[in-house]
């Protein structure tokens, strides 16, 4: 097991030198002594090579896209183009301060302006704010816009948002943050919204409806027109959780099928890296009547060039980020969109759909699939057969996949499928790669029969064996105990 960086510290070592102090004014002459720290913070002391030899081996303990398939459903772990990584590191992108005069930011502002427009075109919506820093913050921003819209109309009685039981956990959490009550909508036997139930829960208090489409089962909500008409009939707004937009790009425009606003996950749909849990970026797009409520500033363009546009600040919901959001992520998404163009983006959606259906076809005889329709970009299999026959759970299967060199699917989600395994291969996986993953899944199905004990003890070959999560909670240890 790797030592922590703190255990590697040797007093006096350093990994950086600065020029000599010039001017060198005694600190206590410029800052009152009583404000100064008495004891230095115990930051570890290492040379540069010590630091490298700590973090590089650590990195090797991670699974990553470049090691192998990473089929986390709804997370869209696609390949991140290397050129975009090198372009984004240009000093003239990295070293820009957010409060420089606009005249010195024209290159980046132009990119953001174009990105706003491209996202509007892709979504069929009218106006886009790039400010939210992640998908969940995009949801929060969108729901705040719904709140602002109803308040402006005097719809003060509207206090409920409807969300399907298959939705991402961020959806209800985002609504709660805005102060809305969440009403849960059941799914029907086809894995879609239950329309009869929807009609029974929609009323004058309905402020909006949050839908993921394709939904988290990977199924297109084909009653979308009727759903939108029901919600709009009570002046509710239709919100699209854009986590699965990668399945629709160039095939369908959300703005043309009844949605009034949505968020985008640039780190999913547009191939920007996930960074081990961020930074992401969660722009929000809206129809024209909601545009006055978007966060400030937007990026505008006039005869002098590109500028921060605060013109709607009176009606805006305000800000959700200190400055303009995760610009470095936006740059990569822009590079991706303009490289692929309309044809490429459409290919992405098509290939994502073909890959998911192909993988489903390969494993469907070995794992139960509750909703066996053709899927969009992902599908949900489960291990109810294995659980019932051999006592092997989805967790066991997930851990065994790690032994075989793959990341596990998203497990135990959506909540409406017992023992769920939500599988999203993405379009950047080759047929060979899908075949190899399916073979591993099929081998595991065989192992469940022959040697269930093996599965309970998996993983065997990973940097650590199965981790004790219960102990982590009971004996909470969230920082290394430093010694003087």
């Amino acid at each position: 097991m790797s030592k922590t960086i703190f255990e590697l510290s040797v007093p006096g070592r350093k990994g950086i030198t600065l020029p000599p102090r010039d001017p060198d004014i005694p600190l206590n002459e410029i800052i009152p002594q009583e404000l100064l720290r008495e004891k230095p913070a115990r930051i570890p002391e290492l040379s540069e090579i010590d630091v490298m030899r700590h973090f590089i081996p650590l990195s090797q303990k991670n699974h990553c896209i470049e090691k192998g398939l990473y089929p986390l459903g709804s997370c869209t772990m696609k390949y991140n183009p290397k050129l975009h990584e090198s372009l984004v590191r240009y000093p003239s992108f990295q070293n820009l301060h957010p409060l420089q005069p606009e005249s010195t930011l024209q290159g980046t502002l132009q990119i953001l302006y174009e990105l706003q427009n491209d996202l509007a075109e892709i979504s069929g919506l009218d106006k886009v704010s790039l400010q939210p820093a992640a998908g969940a913050q995009g949801e929060f921003t969108g729901i705040r816009i719904i709140f602002a819209y109803h308040r402006a109309k005097g719809n003060t009685h509207k206090n409920k948002i409807i969300i399907p039981d298959s939705a991402h956990g961020t959806n209800p959490a985002s609504c709660a943050l805005v102060g809305y009550e969440v009403v849960e909508l059941k799914s029907d036997s086809r894995g879609r919204c239950d329309l009869a139930h929807l009609k029974s829960i929609v009323n004058e208090n309905t402020a909006g409806f949050m839908l993921t489409n394709p939904n988290t089962l990977g199924l297109f909500e084909d009653q979308i027109e009727e759903i939108a008409s029901i919600i709009h009939s009570v002046d509710g707004l239709m919100y699209l959780d854009g986590a699965n937009l990668n399945a629709l790009m160039g095939l369908v425009k959300p703005g043309e099928i009844g949605f009034d606003l949505m968020h985008f996950n640039l780190h999913k749909t547009f191939a920007t890296p996930h960074g081990g849990g961020g930074p992401g970026s969660g722009p929000v797009g809206v129809i024209a009547k909601l545009a006055p409520f978007l966060p400030v500033p937007l990026i505008g363009k006039n005869e002098d060039g590109y500028f921060f546009d605060y013109s709607h600040k009176q009606s805006s919901i305000g800000k959700v980020h200190t400055f303009y959001g995760n610009v470095a992520v936006m740059l990569r998404a822009y590079f991706y969109i303009i490289t692929l163009g309309a044809e490429g983006l459409r290919q992405v959606a098509e290939n994502a759909i073909i890959n998911a259906n192909y993988l489903m076809a390969l494993i469907k005889d070995y794992y139960h699939i509750q909703y066996p329709d053709h899927c969009m970009h992902e599908f949900v299999a489960d291990s109810t057969w294995q659980k019932k026959e051999y006592g092997v759970s989805t967790l066991d299967i997930a851990k065994r996949l790690l032994d075989k060199g793959f990341h596990a699917p998203t497990v135990y989600f959506p909540l409406i499928v017992p023992e769920a395994m939500m599988i999203e291969p993405t379009e950047t996986e080759s047929k060979d790669s899908l075949d190899a993953f399916a073979s591993a899944m099929i081998e595991i199905a065989q192992e469940c029969k022959e040697n269930p004990e093996l599965l309970h003890s998996a993983p065997l070959t990973t940097p650590v064996r199965r981790v004790d999560d219960v102990r982590a909670v009971k004996m909470l240890d969230t920082s290394f105990p430093l010694e003087d």
Binding site: I43, L83, F93, Q94, G169, T170, T322, G344, R465, T478
Partner: protein, 483 residues
Amino acid sequence: MLSCKWAAKNFRIDINYNTKKVRYNILLIANGEIMSYIPNTDAERNQMLEKIGVHSFEELIQVIPRKFRLQELLNLSPPLSELELTQLVNALASKNIDTQKFISFLGAGVYDHFIPAAVDTIVSRPEFYTAYTPYQAEVSQGTLQYIYEYQTLICELTGMGISNASMYDGATAVAEAILMAVRKNHLKKAIISSAIHPEFIKVIQSYTEGIGLELVFCDIKYGRTDIANLADKMDENVSSVVIQTPNFLGNIEAMNELEKVVHSNPKTLFIASVDPVSLGILKPPSSYHADIVTGEGQALGNNMYMGGPLFGFFATHKDMARLMPGRIVGATVDVEGNRAYTLTLQAREQHIRREKATSNICSNESLCTLAATVYLSLLGKDGLIEVATQSAQKAHFLANEIASIPGFSLCYPETPFFKEFAIHCPVSAQKVIQDMLNKHIFAGVDLKSYGYDENTLLIAVTEKRTRAELENYATALREMNYE
């Protein structure tokens, strides 16, 4: 090149989806002509469609009502090769003027500190940047361990008992701290110092409006929170008090005195927003009994990127762990008893608790915290002190130089500051900024749009500025002869 691309924006290609001639009829342009990072060939795709049991891609999307299926391509510019993309981006990048070209004295939350090259080498490892949130702990020990180390560093800098894995930025961190205080004491009023970052205030308003929290603003006196005014506004309904130090104006707040007022109500939580670099030399928030400590972390080894990504840090007392927002990594063991790390206290989070979660946050700013962890590891104990000390020394040197120029003065000459200070100019700050821009200097932040006098300029100085650059700045101002 540029004009050609933008002109092409309106170029459309019509496609006929019903063509039966080709079995897989969607790809108008053969693989290889578009860089879409899709490996499969047409032949492979046909094999796959056969295995699926369909004759065409169209059959897979029959469920989408026909009238909703797009009949033409999106109106985007035509695809580019990687070479063309590079040429285009070169042209766009050249329209920026960055802080390597002009000398920067801009701050207000985002700072131009020196970043050692090893930081980017490590954050550029695909094993780190192409990984997802570490859901499968056994193949995510790299990410989990650096987050644990990051949490330890934040605890050490702040003196607090527990840190989370990060928030989006300093603004959302402090907004979520206010919400956490409400979870703790169920009181519905927060007092915010008017000296905190004005953009933080806007984000706090966005985050607290829905739950009906009353926000009360405390006045500024001599560039710091007015303690007497805070005492006037305190009552038994105050859930939390938010103070930033150094504050937006760069001034170091009297945290010891403020704390006594805050905790005059034992239920009220004291929320501090701090500059992590300042903690190299300034007293840790634990010393003044802060209850929740947040801040903007960009200054720790992260590039500015026009203001994003940033990252917020968030630390508190260990006994409030279960009220915290965001991911938390804990150390534990595997089945063989080896030390291992995992995401913990997940029962607080949205994927488990849904609308009852402590926050909606999912993705945070993990890779930025890796940069911070590597940065601090390279600096070490003395290096952080050195960065903080040199920043403070150079800022004070420049402040003195400017104060000696006729017509210029420090706004708060008696108030201690760290690496940033406000000056009063004889002309508008906007004019100073424009005149200095002509001398290739980003002179500072115009505070007019933040509600201050139009002659007020906020100047930040980091260790990167040389003595010559500081003297040039002062000389340039002097030679403007505004008076």
